[in-house]
């Protein structure tokens, strides 16, 4: 990932009026402008214009420069921070043009030609002010932190003590540890080159409206994120995410969470608590990589009196994976992986034949073959070309007890772009899962399960093998980048046959989406419509809803899913 420890210039700005245009990352300041840079300059003047992306600023009007080269009055000064060039129009006896190179303020290059746009102000005709402030601290190419802020949201004016905005290219400071939400208003109230402190006001389907706190830290070789989410609800998660890159071929990742249920108050003893940690190490090689992962889980930190799972399993696995390789001159690609490891829980992992297994070793093999794109139809006309692709994956997992699982997954799709606005695809997916035991295994129940007084006989044929077939038709219509409409129809033909109320619904995340893709009991037909459009500059709205074609009591999904997304 590289070293991000570049020494960067810090610019401190005070003025009567500072405006920030977030569309263009421009800071415009007027009246008693005073700038201090970490390079040792102090400049005063009438007005300032700074382009945060181009990383340069201009101060004009009654400029006074105090630098290691002395105190000089001038008409304007421009500092191109990326290039370590300062262009100055001093007015001593009469105006002149000086260029300071590489921080040498004692030996200006007098009369040297300057770039043509050194002293240009940006055209702000159609630009909108995002906030105003009294002072700002700018970490060149990384962040700006405003103080004495008035935030402008449409016609509203929101006073804030400070506002931090990160505009750097390092995603490490953008790492977050929060679960998804339908809406997230983030207030970065403090920060610098290496840290951001943020409060989030969020809304999701499970928790409603709540607040969260998140602290981001980033260094040259990694990052850490600590969060409390939701901070204002009785069920909350404390999270620590870490990433450390050691050399060019090795990295460590950690993800730890502490779950806490405190119905009696934030500082009261929780009624339930659990914790889990994923620790992953990855070593890369030329055409493959090795991953070791340990997972520690303690489902109950409170004690045996609590009605919670008391298990505390531990897993340790090692897996080698290859990157996709083309098979000869064919359009096929393949990738392989093989791994082994152990699972342990003193309270037992599985009971089979009257014996409780507390440790289970396993090893697994995974092979994938896929074809990326095969074109046919009129290949000279992009709107009449069809694209076919498919993939097949076979996985085996063998356990130290006489038990193994086999997974077969096949995906086939055919797609076409009909015109600039409309594209569509049809797909067919088969997920086949077999759970086998050398002696015995799954057997039918004595009686069929009864749902609402009706026996469901089809489940009696289940012997530990499921086949989920899904046919999909998807279409996308987009007239311009700011408006996208999609429709997705899926038909499932599964065994065991789904029956309303027979299979428990899978757990969902905060957005209401199932936590795993293939599960038993999916409604046979569902159609999803989704519209996404730009509601405001930099704010997109995504509205979707699903219909289940009268599967039991399921018709329309309980509500529209609405997401507000900052761009």
């Amino acid at each position: 990932m590289g070293n991000r420890a570049d020494a960067s210039t810090t610019v401190r700005l005070n003025a009567d009026h500072i405006a920030f245009y977030n569309d263009r990352y421009l800071i415009e300041a007027d009246g008693n402008v005073r700038v201090t840079t970490s390079e040792g300059m102090t400049i005063t003047g009438d007005t300032l214009s700074m382009d945060l992306k181009l990383n340069r600023f201009l101060i004009a009007g009654n400029v006074h420069l105090r630098s290691p080269g002395g105190n000089i009055d001038g008409a304007a000064i421009a500092d191109f921070l990326d290039f370590d060039r300062v262009y100055f129009v001093p007015v001593i006896q009469e105006p002149d043009r000086w260029t300071y190179v590489n921080g040498d303020f004692k030996h200006p290059l007098k009369g040297r030609e300057m770039p043509g746009d050194v002293f240009y102000f940006p055209d702000l005709t159609h630009a909108k002010i995002n906030l105003t402030a009294h002072s700002a601290t700018i970490g060149a190419k990384e962040y700006v932190r405003f103080q004495g802020v008035t935030l402008r949201i449409a016609a509203a004016r929101v006073p804030l003590p400070s506002e931090y905005i990160y505009f750097g290219t390092n995603p490490d400071l953008g790492q977050n540890s929060l679960a998804g939400a339908n809406m997230d208003l983030t207030y970065n109230f403090a920060g610098n080159n290496n840290s951001i402190s943020a409060v989030h006001l969020r809304k999701d389907q499970q928790n409603g409206v709540y607040a969260s706190f998140e602290q981001h830290l980033a260094g040259p070789h990694g990052y850490a994120v600590v969060s409390l989410n939701p901070a204002t609800k009785s069920q909350r998660f404390w999270t620590l995410v870490g990433d450390e890159r050691i050399g060019k071929h090795f990295q460590l990742n950690s993800f730890s969470q502490l779950y806490q249920y405190s119905p009696n108050g934030f500082f009261k003893q929780p009624a339930a608590a659990s914790t889990w940690t994923y620790l992953t190490a990855t070593q890369s090689f030329t055409q493959s990589y090795l991953t070791a992962q340990a997972v520690f889980t303690n489902y109950n930190l409170i004690g045996p009196s609590q009605p919670a799972i008391e298990n505390h399993p531990f897993q340790l696995h090692l897996m080698a994976s290859t990157v996709p390789h083309r098979i000869g001159r064919t359009p096929l690609f393949e990738s392989l992986s093989y791994g082994f490891g152990a699972n342990h829980d003193a309270l037992g992992l599985q009971n089979y034949g009257g014996y409780t297994y507390t440790t289970l070793w396993d090893h697994s093999f995974n092979a994938n073959v896929y074809v990326s794109n095969i074109k046919f139809g009129n290949r000279h006309n992009a709107y009449k070309t069809y694209y076919f692709n498919g993939s097949y994956t076979k996985s085996y997992t063998w356990y130290s007890m006489p038990h193994w699982d086999v997974y077969d997954t096949t995906n086939l799709t055919l797609s076409r772009q009909f015109n600039r606005a409309f594209s569509s695809y049809i797909g067919y997916n088969v997920a086949h899962t077999g759970d086998y035991y050398r002696q015995g295994g799954w057997s039918q129940p004595l009686n069929p399960p009864v749902i609402n007084g009706v026996p469901v006989y089809s489940l009696l044929a289940f012997r530990g093998v499921s086949t989920l077939r899904t046919a999909t038709i998807g279409a996308t219509y987009t007239t311009n980048p700011n408006f996208v409409a999609t429709v997705l129809y899926q038909h499932h033909q599964d065994f065991p046959i789904p029956y309303p109320g027979l299979f428990p619904q899978p757990p969902t995340n905060n957005l209401g989406d199932p936590l795993y893709a293939n599960y038993l009991g999916q409604p046979p037909n569902n159609i999803t419509g989704d519209i996404r459009f730009l509601a405001m500059p930099h704010v997109a709205l995504d509205v979707s809803r699903e219909y289940f074609f009268n599967f039991g009591t399921q018709r329309w999904a309980p509500s529209f899913t609405i997401q507000v997304i900052g761009q």
Partner: protein, 276 residues
């Protein structure tokens, strides 16, 4: 007599036409110490009795010359600004005529800057660090991003693009599914924009990984002057699927207790596997 009078009038008219007032217009940079400066960086002497007028009405104005205002400067024969017509709206930026060039006040003679010489060699490939010397019109460019995802990507997943222009929001730009392995996004960016981006599946815990299985630096795109641009990328792995034993790390989701049976939602009470 009439002929002489006519000749005098003609002579005066010709003289008047031959010596029009010299002027330039542009945006003001500074007005101080007896000089007026334009954003070209050029400074000119201001006459002591300079008239400050409104550019539209040519009447005296309450506006005072200051940075950011636009102005038209009228020179006398001595090269001094004798009239300054101010405007809050943009006035055309005029190139300096040779005559006005002579009026520019500079203590030191100008000499070329080798750093501004056009580049004569180099690669055609634009990167975020070799755009110096390139010019960009700033026109909106339609960018079509198409990404191929690994076959292990779940079919019900969404793919997004996180960019530095959106503070690395992992859901900033949602992509549309093209088929089982491809997603597409169409966006407009102005030419000259340098975009750093990564593909994600909705969170930075599920961001893309490099072919080596490690974190990868952001992809970089320099938007050049074009009407449309196609970008084709390849994701080799996802961080949250880059785990062993099928474990997926998801915030606020307890790990599923170890279950040797791959059917997590069978009906309660259904017999578990047993020996015969």
């Amino acid at each position: 007599m009439m002929r002489r009078l006519l000749a005098l009038v003609c002579t005066l008219a010709v003289l008047g036409a031959a010596a029009p007032a010299v002027s330039i217009s542009g945006q003001l940079l500074a007005y101080q110490q007896g000089y007026v400066f334009f954003t070209s960086g050029n400074g000119f002497h201001v006459a002591p009795n300079v008239r400050i007028l409104d550019d539209t009405t040519k009447a005296p104005t309450t506006l005072q010359p200051r940075p950011r205002l636009f102005a038209r400067a009228v020179f006398n024969e001595a090269g001094q600004v004798v009239e300054l017509d101010l405007s809050k709206t943009a006035l055309p930026l005029q190139p300096l005529s040779p005559l006005v060039q002579k009026y520019v006040v500079a203590a030191s003679p100008s000499y070329p800057n080798p750093e501004l010489a056009p580049k004569t060699s180099g690669t055609n490939e634009l990167t975020a660090t070799n755009t110096a010397g390139m010019t960009f019109s700033g026109k909106p460019v339609l960018i079509v991003f198409e990404v191929e995802v690994p076959p292990s990507t779940p079919f019900n997943t969404q793919v997004y693009m996180a960019t530095d222009t959106s503070g690395w929001n992992p859901q900033a730009f949602r992509m549309e599914r093209v088929d089982a392995l491809h997603f597409r996004l169409v966006q407009r960016f102005r030419s000259g924009t340098i975009i750093h981006y990564l593909y994600t599946r909705g969170s930075l815990q599920s961001e893309e990984r490099s072919a080596s299985g490690l974190d990868m630096p952001p992809r970089t795109l320099v938007v050049t002057n074009a009407d449309v641009r196609a970008v084709n990328d390849h994701v080799y792995a996802w961080a949250d699927l880059n785990t062993v034993n099928g474990t997926r790390i998801q915030p606020d989701v307890q790990p599923t207790p170890f279950n040797p049976a791959p059917f997590p939602n069978l009906p309660v009470g259904f017999p578990t596997p047993h020996p015969r």
